[in-house]
Point group: C2
Chain length 307, copies 2
């Protein structure tokens, strides 16, 4: 099958801005997405780092409509559409297809634990059959530290056999290189595109046949991560990777989502960006000050964010 039109490169699970009343803020969201595209980073909206699982299906549909309505290119979007309820996953996925999204990133249903591969196969298969659109590109979302429900090798094998072309790849947020490597070794040759879930594995992934990465910190360090993707065969690739790791390590010292938002608030000069929805909480004043100081010491900037 042709994979020429597939999404590759660096994508950001775009953080979702909230107003003071905790409703999503479409205008700030659109501005942020435009800034990310200007840095050559694609839009994995409604990811874990987007607080997407703290949004209702209705809120996600509305935000996606606003984004596409504002002229942001849906071909650059890979919205998260995997929910606990089959009917929500079908609704969101069908809507993403209708809007022309380049793909969708699909969590397995994540409330019930210890479910079988049979049940997970049936979940994904029901969504695919009900959406019923051969242009659909599903990226399976493996994030066992959070979802607690794994996308196993036998499950991928069955899905690829049943829905070649539609099952287009995976995001691997296990943080376990051995798992990423197993995805690549077993399935990359069948047109299964693997995105490590962090730029920490960007260079290693590209060298092993990966196609980019989808990373929390692509929200704040998009340009540098995209540059490594574009120049990974250059002589300074390992140096670039080291520099990316340095920034990533700073963010990883803090609760990730509030830290991403605090950095955007600080570097964008827009304090309201710091707001998170419960059950998350904002960084404390001390944590914010410490994060900003850490980033300043590392010479971190967010070019073009302000204004």
């Amino acid at each position: 099958m042709s994979t020429a039109d597939r999404i590759t490169g660096v994508l950001s699970p775009v953080v979702t801005p909230f107003k003071a009343d905790l409703t999503p803020d479409p205008d700030r969201f659109i501005r942020q997405c435009r800034w990310l595209l200007s840095q050559d980073v694609g839009l994995a909206v409604f990811g874990t780092n987007s607080e997407a699982n703290s949004l209702s299906t209705e809120e996600k549909v509305e935000l996606l409509d606003r984004l596409v309505g504002a002229g942001v290119d849906p071909a650059r979007m890979m919205p998260g559409t995997g929910c606990c309820a089959l009917t929500d996953s079908v609704r969101l996925t069908a809507h993403a297809m209708k809007l022309g999204c380049g793909g969708v990133l699909m969590l397995p249903p994540f409330y019930y634990k210890g479910v079988s591969d049979d049940g997970l196969f049936r979940s994904f298969a029901e969504v695919i059959e009900r959406v019923g659109d051969r242009r659909l590109r599903i990226y399976l979302y493996h994030i066992p530290p959070v979802s607690q429900v794994a996308i196993t090798l036998p499950l991928i094998e069955r899905l690829l056999k049943a829905y070649p072309g539609v099952v287009a790849g995976a995001k691997d947020s296990s943080g376990d290189w051995n798992n990423t490597q197993a995805y690549l070794v077993n399935f990359a040759s069948q047109g299964f595109d693997v995105f490590p879930g962090s730029e920490t594995f960007l260079l290693q992934g590209l060298r092993a046949g990966g196609v980019g990465c989808i990373s929390a910190t692509a929200n704040v360090n998009p340009g540098a991560i995209a540059r490594l993707f574009g120049t990974w065969k250059a002589g300074d690739a390992d140096v670039q990777q080291g520099r990316l790791n340095e920034i990533r390590t700073i963010f990883a010292k803090y609760p990730m989502i509030p830290a991403l938002k605090a950095a955007i608030a600080h570097h964008g000069g827009d304090a309201s960006w710091a707001t998170v929805r419960p059950p998350l909480v904002e960084l404390t004043q001390a944590q914010q000050a410490s994060l900003v100081a850490d980033l300043d010491r590392a010479g971190f900037t967010m070019p073009g964010l302000k204004g």
Copy 2:
């Protein structure tokens, strides 16, 4: 505060019937709820065992409307209304209040792991404030084996202090008697009603100040469990408890939700009851036959279910 009008006794997290196309089946649902009430068991609809987390908010609202519309008493209902998304939890809880439900059973937001008690307090507080109805009775739902997000003692203490009367109790599905006991010892005297999450702890719970239980197997063995609740001070209480445990142990040998549905399908003479929604799968033919044989050997019946 007065706790005279509180829900007590045995409640069933009512299993949700599905049609062949996996849509909920309101007519079978209403019949099942009426049968449970005839056995003196209350309706904790939309619990874990109801596959509630495989239903969209819209589907839950519609089922609840149908149930109340059919004349089933909302005062006997404690629907599950805790979702990942704040907006879904508010919508469902407000709807349950509008319909006159006796209480709601509220999961914490369960996608994000390792969240703080501050964040969970804020979640529950936002729901309470937004629903804004002093008749609201929230039962906190502690089920760490599935939700992976705990309702800790300090969290209960803060919530009880901020919202006395509204925070009315908890269902403890930890399976850990020490936790149930800690809830009782610390909070029962403040009008905090504790329901163990299984009839295994019914007698022990009642003797320690609990108010009943909310149990999966109350879907299939409601009369006997309700009888122990009604006669727990009688001389044969321990014998009754032993007999309940015997039946519970049989169901626990199989995947619980498909086993409950298989038993209802068999004893009600209605094969379509066996259907589950993905990611769950039905029992195999061999498992069904084995379950039925185990139950027959134990002299298990479901009086009044058929016809």
